[in-house]
Every structure is written in C-alpha cells, then in structure tokens.
Amino acid sequence: MPTEAPPAVVLEKLVRRFGERVVLDEVTLSVPSGQTLVVFGPNGAGKSTLLRVLATLLRPHRGVVKLLGEALPDRAWAVRSRVGLLTHESLLYRDLSARENLRFHARLHGATDERVEELLDAVKLRVRAGDPVHTYSRGMVQRAAVCRAVLHDPEILLLDEPLSNLDPAATELVEPLIGRASGRTRIVTSHDPAGGLADGDLALGLRAGRQVLLRAAADVTVADIGELYR
C-alpha cells in the first residue's frame, strides 16, 4: 500500500514580528506535495513576509514551519537547495550579463553551466545572454530571474506575482518552468482574483497579518477575494 507523501509545507501558528508590530499572526496551513497555494491580500498584509520566511530568509519568531518535513530554522540549511524564490527583486547584477549572473548562481547552488544554457534557451534569452542586464527590458529581466529561480531544480517554488512584466508570449515560455505544468509545489501571491483562483488548488487570504480565509480554491469566489481589500 503506497504511503501518503507528507505535505510539502506545514505552518502551525507562525508568528513573525517587526519590533512590537505583528506582521504574521498565527498563520496555520498545510500544502500537499505538488499543489498550488494562492495567497491574496492587500499591500502590507504579510504576503511577501510569508514568502521570505518560507524561503528561509527570515526566522519564524514563534510557531512551527516545516518544509518537506524539515523544521525551520534549525534545518533551514538542509532544505535551501530544494526551494526556489522569485520576487520583485531579480537578484541579478545589472552590470553583468544574464549568462554571467546565472553562472554565478549556478556555482553557488552546484548546478552546471549546461543547465544555465538549457534554461536560457527555454526562455529564449540565448541571443542576448551576453549583454549586461541593465540593457534588458523588464520582461527580459523577469525571464532571466525565472531562470535563476529554477536553476537548481527546486521542489518548492515561492513566487511573488511572477507574471508581472510578462507579455502573453513570455508567460507561455515560463509556464513549464514555474507554472502548474512544472508539477512542483507552488506558493504564489497574486493581485488577480480570477486568474489566481484558476491557477491554484488552495487559497489563502491575509489581512494585516491574520489569515481570514483558507479554503480550496474551487470553493472561493472572486467576490470573497474582493472582501479582503475592503
């Protein structure tokens, strides 16, 4: 009898503060392996902080965080290679080329130069890969950032509004890397209720750090999401 895989992400009453102000207030959820959690909420609700905690960039101040069975922050070092983060910051040096940037990240993660070329091909950046990043359009920067995020073939993807700055053609290019088709466990923040709900299996609504909504995405309506912003 096949044993059930443990959930990829488990949060129990996660608390994260900024001084005396509570930024994440006892967030509790569980994301099964391979599924997508969509996070909604107004600016300042804690979405980016949640992503950064899961990326092991911020320590949980209280509560339990488990990624792929490993507890943070003690086992953060063990799980870092299996998590990929894509935020508004591209994490690319503007004076270096995409290729140089990606090779740098590849060496930090133990990925090969072939993998770099493979990804540059997949997002159709091969031609401009030798030019400095500051000459790229925003869409190109985003595509390069996507390559960076999946360079080390992570099992969990943390995506902060990944499709901003991308035209429909580019969106199609990155879909197999960071979309549902990639088959990875994903946590995605979104300001687009309809698109987000269609993309996700599970929906989380945050307001001022508190979780006010947590249901299967199919059971959530666009109006429910609108409520969050009121």
Partner: protein, 247 residues
C-alpha cells in the same frame, strides 16, 4: 531587581561614596609637589576603570544576546554601554583636570593610558548613532551586539598597541604618582573603585527596572486591546517578548 535588593543597593551606594570621599580627602597623603588638586586622581582612576569594565561587561552581555537571542541581554548590554559612556566622559574630564594639576598641560600624548582610553571612548561614541540609524529593531539589536563584541575585544588590543608606541619613542616619563603607591593611597583607590562600581551598578539597575516596567506596561495594554505600539525610531531597545523555545 526590585524591592529589597534594590533598596539595599540604594543605601549601600551613598555610604560607599561618602566613605571613599572621606578616605581620599583625609586619609590619603598629599602628594609632595602637586598639592591638593592632585587628589582628583582618586575620582579619575575609579571612573576610568569602571568605564572600561562597563564596556567589557556590555560586550559579554552582547555575546549572551547573540547566543540566546534573548532581547533582555540586549537591553542589559545597551544600558551598560550607555552608562559607561557617561562615566567615561566624566573620566576624561577629571583626567584632563588631573593632567593640568600634575603636569601643567590639559592633554599629554605620552600618557599611554589616557590616550588609549580616548580612542576606546571615541569608538563607543558611535554605538548609539549606529543603533539609531537601523530601523528594524531586531536587526538593530543584533548589529549592536556585533559592534559591542568587536569594540570590547578592541579594548585590550588597543591598550597594548598604544603602550608599545609610547614606550618605543619616549620612555615613560610621567607616572601616576611621583614616588610609587603607599598603602594609604591603595586603600583610598580601592574605596573609590568600590564606590564608583556600586554607583554604576545602582544606576544600571534603575535604568533596567525603568525600561522593563515600561515594556511590561505596554504589553499589558496591548493584551487589553489597546493597539499600543511604539512608533518612530529609537536607539534604545523597546520590545521585550522573550523568545519561545522551538516546539
């Protein structure tokens, strides 16, 4: 520290201070060629010693803070360094008065102790501006601890280097007193050090108690629903939740 222990300390300190003053004024002998103004050394040396110990104590609290991540150690470190800066200012001023009384100049580069003290003091003067310019309170505490540890390790290294420079060029022309220390002088010094150390401890405890009480009050107000959060920037630690053990 509250209640009886604080009260005991509050009584012991003025007693020690008065005792040390009397010993320095009447028991210790007058220095031959310098006159009564030389006696400020019985204030200057204890102040300087307690200041340096305060800095090192702040560094030790900082080490504990980094190891346990308990913000209470950061508060202890901050208050210790803050107090030491005030005591250090007094030490420098009394040191200059003593220099004027003993050698006729306000400052003497060949006095290695005074010079290395000045350098350490200048370094710790940057502690508060540095804290103030970091807005994230947790990061502020962590960086302050890194600073305090580095600066604390610097105290002995700096003393050694300045001493070496001084000895190489100029033999130690000027000593702390003309003829060496007599037993009466030792007693007066010791009394002074104990008294100033008690004063430091007393003020340190007062400040800690003051801040702790304020934090607890704010935390209670928050529990009652008052959304009271300290706004604005501050160099001093302001929040207090002890970290919970990972479950």
């Amino acid at each position: 520290m509250y209640g009886t222990r604080l009260r005991l300390l509050s009584i012991a300190t003025p007693v020690a201070l008065i005792g040390a003053f009397l010993l320095a004024a009447f028991y210790a002998p007058m220095a031959a060629n310098e006159g009564i103004s030389q006696k400020i050394i019985y204030v200057h040396v204890p102040l300087a010693i307690v200041t340096l110990c305060g800095f090192v104590f702040g560094a030790i609290m900082a080490i504990k803070h980094l190891r346990t991540r308990d913000p209470r150690y950061d508060l202890k470190s901050y208050v210790a360094i803050h107090m030491s800066l005030i005591f250090g200012t007094a030490a420098l001023i009394t040191g200059m008065i003593w220099a004027k009384a003993a050698w006729g100049v306000w400052w003497e580069w060949r006095e290695a102790t005074l010079v290395s003290f000045l350098i350490v003091f200048l370094l710790f003067c940057t502690y508060q501006p540095m804290r103030f310019s970091i807005e994230d309170p947790d990061r502020q505490a962590r960086y302050a601890s890194v600073f305090a540890i580095t600066a604390g390790a610097f105290v002995p290294v700096n003393f050694l280097a300045v001493r070496l420079a001084d000895a190489y060029i100029h033999p130690r022309v000027l000593t702390t007193s003309g003829s060496g220390l007599t037993p009466e002088m030792n007693v007066a010094f010791l009394a002074g050090i104990i008294a100033v150390a008690l004063l430091f401890t007393l003020l340190w405890q007062f400040e800690l108690t003051n801040k702790n009480t304020r934090f607890k009050l704010r935390a209670l107000r928050r529990k009652l629903g008052d959304d009271e959060v300290a706004y604005g920037r501050s160099a001093a630690p302001r929040h207090f939740d002890a970290p919970e053990a990972a479950t």
